[in-house]
C-alpha cells in the first residue's frame, strides 16, 4: 500500500486535491483571482486521467453555481470554488443551493470586496453571505483546507444536515502559500467518505417530483425552521465528523472551535482563518512577556458555535476579536458581533475589543498582534465593556 504523500504545494492545490479525493461527479467553475488555480489543478488532473469527473467550463460564477445545482439534483456529488465578486455574482443560486437543501462543497479563497478595486485578501466576501444558509468553515493552513474539503462532504451529506458547505481560506495568505502537508491515500478517503447521490430532492423520470413548487407562507416557514434545525444539528455532526476523521486519518481539529493555551488565560484573542497560525506564535511570545493570554480559533462561522464559545469565554477577563472584514452597521468586524452576542447572556459584561485588519491584502504580523494584545491588556484594566475598535495599521 502506498504511503500518505508529504508534499509542498499551495492552498489552492490543496483544496483541489481534497476535492479530487472526494471523487466529485461534476465540477463547474469560472476563473477569478485568487481562486483560479483550484480549478486549473482539477482540470489538469482530469486531463491526465487521474480524476474521473465531468468539468463544465461555464461563462460565469452564476452559471457555475447553477450547473452544480442541476448536477446535484440529478444525483451527482459536485464541487466548485470562487472568490469575492464571483461569490457576489453567484449569490442568487448560492442562496437557493442551501434552501433547496442540496449538499456540496465550495471552496472560497477569501478576498476583499470592491470598491475600491482590489484583488487581494480579506474575508469580506464569505462573511457577507453568512446568512445565506450555508455551513461556513475557515481553515488555518493548507492541511486543514484539504482535510476540511473531505470532511465537508461528510458533513454536508449527513442525513441530519443536508446542507452545502463552504471551506473558506484566506486568499494569497493560504491560497498561494506553499507549505508542507500530507496528502492522504485515496483508500483512506474512500473509507471515510461513502459515495453519495442526493435522493431527498431529485429530478428523475423514474421518481418524478416537482422540485420547488410555488409555496405558501404556511408551509414555507416550516422549511425555514427545518433548515435552522439542520444547522443546529450540524454543530453536533461537525464534532462527530472530526472524531471519525481522526480515526481514519489520524488528525483532528477540535470540532467547531479550537483553543490554544486557554485554560489559565485571562485574556483571549479570537481569530478565524490563517491569522490563527500567526496568533499562536504571538500568544507564545506574549506569554514569554508575562501576559496571561490564550487563543480561541473559530472554525465554523455557520452554524455559529455559540455555546462552546460561551464556555470558553465564561471565566475570562477580556477578549479581542481579530476581524478581516467590517460590519458597516456596527463599526466593528463581523466576527466580533457574533462573539459578542454569544456571550451576551453570561450575566456579566466581559471587556471586549473589536480589532480590524487584513483588509485588501494587508498583513497581520506577530508584532501587530502583540501590540493588539498589549492594548487589550491596558484598556481592560480601566474599563469593563466594549472598547473602541482597534485598527491594525
Amino acid at each position: 500500500m502506498d504511503k500518505n504523500k508529504i508534499v509542498a504545494i499551495s492552498g489552492n492545490k490543496s483544496a483541489a486535491i481534497g476535492a479530487a479525493l472526494s471523487k466529485p461527479d461534476l465540477i463547474a467553475a469560472y476563473p477569478i483571482t485568487p481562486q483560479s488555480s483550484v480549478v486549473e489543478a482539477l482540470a489538469d488532473m482530469i486531463a491526465k486521467g487521474e480524476l474521473d469527473s465531468n468539468m463544465v467550463h461555464v461563462e460565469s460564477e452564476h452559471s457555475a453555481m447553477s450547473v452544480v445545482q442541476g448536477a446535484t439534483v440529478a444525483g451527482g456529488r459536485t464541487f466548485t470554488a470562487t472568490s469575492a465578486q464571483g461569490l457576489a455574482l453567484m449569490f442568487e443560486p448560492y442562496f437557493r443551493m442551501s434552501t433547496l437543501r442540496l449538499p456540496m462543497v465550495m471552496a472560497i479563497a477569501t478576498r476583499e470586496m470592491t470598491s475600491p478595486e482590489t484583488v487581494w485578501s480579506g474575508q469580506q466576501d464569505a462573511v457577507t453571505v453568512r446568512d445565506a444558509g450555508w455551513i461556513q468553515m475557515f481553515a488555518e493552513n493548507n492541511q486543514e483546507i484539504l482535510d476540511m474539503v473531505i470532511q465537508g462532504y461528510k458533513l454536508a451529506e449527513h442525513k441530519d444536515v443536508l446542507l452545502p458547505v463552504n471551506v473558506c481560506y484566506d486568499g494569497f495568505y493560504l491560497s498561494h502559500l506553499t507549505e508542507r502537508f500530507e496528502i492522504p491515500r485515496q483508500e483512506l478517503a474512500d473509507e471515510f467518505l461513502e459515495s453519495y447521490s442526493c435522493n431527498h430532492v431529485t429530478l428523475d423520470p423514474d421518481k418524478p417530483m416537482a422540485v420547488d413548487p410555488l409555496t405558501s407562507s404556511e408551509i414555507l416557514w416550516r422549511y425555514r425552521k427545518s433548515h435552522l434545525e439542520a444547522m443546529q444539528n450540524a454543530l453536533e455532526v461537525i464534532d462527530e465528523v472530526d472524531i471519525e476523521f481522526d480515526k481514519v486519518f489520524g488528525r483532528k481539529y477540535g470540532g467547531a472551535i479550537d483553543t490554544y493555551k486557554i485554560d489559565d488565560a485571562e485574556l483571549v484573542i479570537v481569530t478565524m482563518g490563517a491569522t490563527t497560525g500567526t496568533a499562536r506564535v504571538a500568544v507564545d511570545k506574549a506569554r514569554d512577556m508575562g501576559y496571561k493570554i490564550g487563543l480561541l480559533k473559530v472554525r465554523f462561522l455557520r452554524p455559529f458555535p455559540s455555546q462552546k464559545i460561551k464556555e470558553v469565554l465564561n471565566s475570562k477577563k477580556a477578549y479581542a476579536v481579530i476581524d478581516k472584514s467590517v460590519s458597516f452597521g456596527w463599526n466593528t468586524g463581523v466576527l466580533y458581533n457574533e462573539i459578542k452576542s454569544a456571550v451576551s447572556d453570561l450575566g456579566r459584561a466581559i471587556t471586549s475589543m473589536p480589532a480590524i485588519g487584513g483588509l485588501g491584502g494587508a498583513d497581520i504580523s506577530v508584532d501587530m498582534l502583540l501590540d493588539c494584545i498589549k492594548k487589550l491588556d491596558e484598556e481592560s484594566k480601566n474599563y469593563n465593556g466594549q472598547l473602541a475598535t482597534y485598527w491594525f495599521e
Partner: protein
C-alpha cells in the same frame, strides 16, 4: 423528512384549478358537421378536447376555459360558442 423539501408526484397529487368556471361561452360540438379532423383537439390550449381510437372527438367542460379557439379554427364550422346559462 421528504416533506421538508419536495413534492412527490403522481396523478392524484396534481394541482388543479376549477378553470371550467372561467367560461362565459361554451363550445358546443355539432357532430353532424364534424369531419373528425382533430384540428380542434390540436389547438385546444387546455387539453379539454380529446379523441378516441375511432377519432370521435369530445369536449370535457370540467376545465374548458371557453376561449373559443376550437370554434374559430374548426374548418367545418362544427363548433358553436354558446353563452353559458342560455
Amino acid at each position: 423528512m421528504s416533506r421538508n423539501f419536495i413534492t412527490p408526484i403522481g396523478d392524484e397529487g396534481i394541482y388543479t384549478l376549477d378553470t371550467g368556471s372561467w367560461r362565459t361561452f361554451r363550445p358546443i360540438m355539432n357532430k353532424d358537421n364534424c369531419v373528425e379532423c382533430g384540428i380542434c383537439m390540436s389547438f385546444c390550449p387546455v387539453g379539454s378536447i380529446t379523441g378516441n381510437k375511432q377519432k370521435i372527438y369530445a369536449i370535457d367542460y370540467k376545465f374548458c376555459k371557453g376561449c373559443g379557439i376550437c370554434a374559430y379554427e374548426c374548418p367545418s364550422k362544427a363548433i358553436d360558442m354558446v353563452k353559458e346559462g342560455d
